[in-house]
Subunit: 97 residues, 2 copies
Amino acid sequence: MIEVDEILKNIDGPFKNVVGVLIVDRDGIIIKSTINEVVDSIQNYGLSIANIVESANKAMNENGELQFLRMKTKKNEFIVVPDKEYMLITILNANTS
Amino acid sequence: MIEVDEILKNIDGPFKNVVGVLIVDRDGIIIKSTINEVVDSIQNYGLSIANIVESANKAMNENGELQFLRMKTKKNEFIVVPDKEYMLITILNANTS
């Protein structure tokens, strides 16, 4: 498990616009997070993104499984890499250059 | 309207991995397309993407409107720029380098 923590820290560490990195299960429940204080809003991101990935997979089913998703809203940007059981979610601050 | 056609052609033209460029309304109905033969599967992309953008906006509502969406599946990649009334969708072939 230490290896996973190292990898998450490498993604999160050096980049000042990275808010945090999450590993969630396919339902969006947080398994690991680099954000110390996992408040409701962070858990909600997991649940919301799991919901969006599921609706994208349903909508695009003949196109094959979703392999990558990047979404930008006014406040944040989300880079999502879904896998069979888990999803890696990087949350960025959309307003730092 | 000629100006819009020019813009679409500029996006579609030079890049060999671009399958086509669509302008759809917020329900996903195709208004303009650079793909000559708009078959069901292309119209379905519009409808599916409109569905995904809507569910993303609902899920992420306190984060502000979705400004950009990029999705990669096994077969295609979709770059989506939603606006108030319309959405610009660029469809790329995910397997050409």
